[in-house]
Amino acid sequence: MEQEKTRKRLYIVTIVLLIYVLSLSIGYAFFSETLEIDGVASTIEYYDGTKLPHTPVTLNNKKGVHFTSNYNDEYSYLTVNGTKLTDGYYYALVDENWNDDTYIITFDKGMLGAFQGKTITYTIAFTNPTVLTYTDGTATTTDGSVLSASNAVSGTSDFSSVSASIDKTSLDPNEQVTLTLTTTIGTIDFTKDSIVKVDVAYKIYPTDNGTRHFYFILKYDSTIDVGNIFDADLLTQCSDKSVTKVNNGYNVTKYSFNCNNYDSIVSDLKSKLEPGVTYRLIRDFQGTQSGVSGSVRLSDGSQLLVNGPYRNGIRHIDFTLTQEQIDSIARIFTYGAQDGSGIFTFIRIYKISD
């Protein structure tokens, strides 16, 4: 009995002692807090074996386009007060689009008419935006030949030669490379589009899971008349009734064909011409030659305001008119072949400078 009482007393004392000791430690660690940072990170399939990381460079700040061309400097036929006009290609530009791994420039194919046999270059640039080095750079061209809406036409090309080059085969981080595409214009088929594609390829060190590519595509579109203000279809509505529309253009069934002031094509053209602006009248004519077959002319009824070139092929003339001259236009002459075989594949007038 006594032993039992003693055991109980001991038990109580121990409990009290424990509580006392615990309360001491609790008193020293009462306030604490944990802040938490949760993170998630993901890599993406940027290097999927085809895309070359790059940052486009705008080379033509004046027009806000990425490319430059020798077209404006070397082949601008028009001079004003002894100074060649520049950026003429801009007015034939349909679109430029730099998206993902491809840069495409699209022109109105009609602009090529002035450059048969000539060599035109296009230059673009981009930089290496990564912290890695690009090596083993190459630039190879594919001439898309002449493409119909759905099929390539074999054995025919608008370009007698194409080539491309890059000025750096190794590219350090943030370094810029310049790509030059050189094309020599051959025999042009204006009924179809034409494309040249440049494949720029680099390897990337040290990851090098393969070769990466960037593509530059130059396209001449035969379906778009960018800025063309001459509606050739209206020739068929002139009271003279000597022009019919055929599959490959407009057949002028007699030698001299006139559209007069009361014909809609004259008033339509006058409403679109701007004074002081330089235009290019360009046409492609095929037919039996005599006299001035193939010429397209603007007249005020007594004198010529624009005397277009004659003979077969693609030819052009550049002109600038005052408001008075525009208002005085009374007649549009088109000269076909004596035997009625003359066909204008196209006749266009478009702005080449402001």
Binding site: T34, I37, V40, I44, P206
Partner: protein, 165 residues
């Protein structure tokens, strides 16, 4: 019986000695007054921002409404060596000084994605006074030698704070 009594007495004696040790010299002074205990410990994320992205897009750092959880998201690391850096500031908005007692991490062992931080270790066991701040950075980087095409990683960093004794 004797033995147990001896133990019992010894324990009591020990307790008394402990108390006596603190109160050998004592004098009783009576102070009358009223005291209210309102000490508060509160450490919060105050700012977090993505300050650098190289080869990375759309990284984000979001503090939750309680300001004790920060979520860092780096969704698009584009190539090996690309990275994002988040700068974080923690502040003591409580009423008592605190100190960082430790930094715990998880998910730092991914072989393709390198997670690291700067400055935090220098704050361990240093006092952060009321309104004081700790600023550090967290870096998420795609490892240079990684051959992975697509990789995802989750990670956590825990900052343990305590009141200063």
């Amino acid at each position: 019986m004797k033995k147990q009594s001896i133990i019992f007495v010894s324990i009591i004696t020990l307790m008394i000695v402990l108390s006596v040790g603190y109160a050998l010299f004592s004098n009783t002074i009576t102070i009358q007054g009223t005291a209210t205990a309102n000490a508060r410990m509160d450490v919060e994320f105050i700012t977090a921002a993505v300050t650098t992205e190289v080869g990375s897009t759309n990284a984000s750092a979001v503090i939750n409404s309680d300001k004790n959880v920060l979520t860092i998201t780096v969704p698009s690391l584009e190539y090996p060596t690309s990275y994002a850096i988040v700068t974080v500031t923690v502040t003591n908005v409580g009423t008592i000084p605190v100190k960082l007692t430790g930094v715990r991490t998880s998910g730092f062992d991914n072989s393709d994605l390198n997670i690291s931080y700067t400055n935090l270790d220098s704050y361990v066991d240093t006092t952060m006074n009321v309104n004081g701040t700790h600023t550090f950075t967290v870096k998420v980087e795609w490892d240079e030698d990684s051959q992975a095409q697509v990789q995802n990683a989750n990670f956590n960093i825990y900052l343990d704070y305590e009141q200063v004794r």
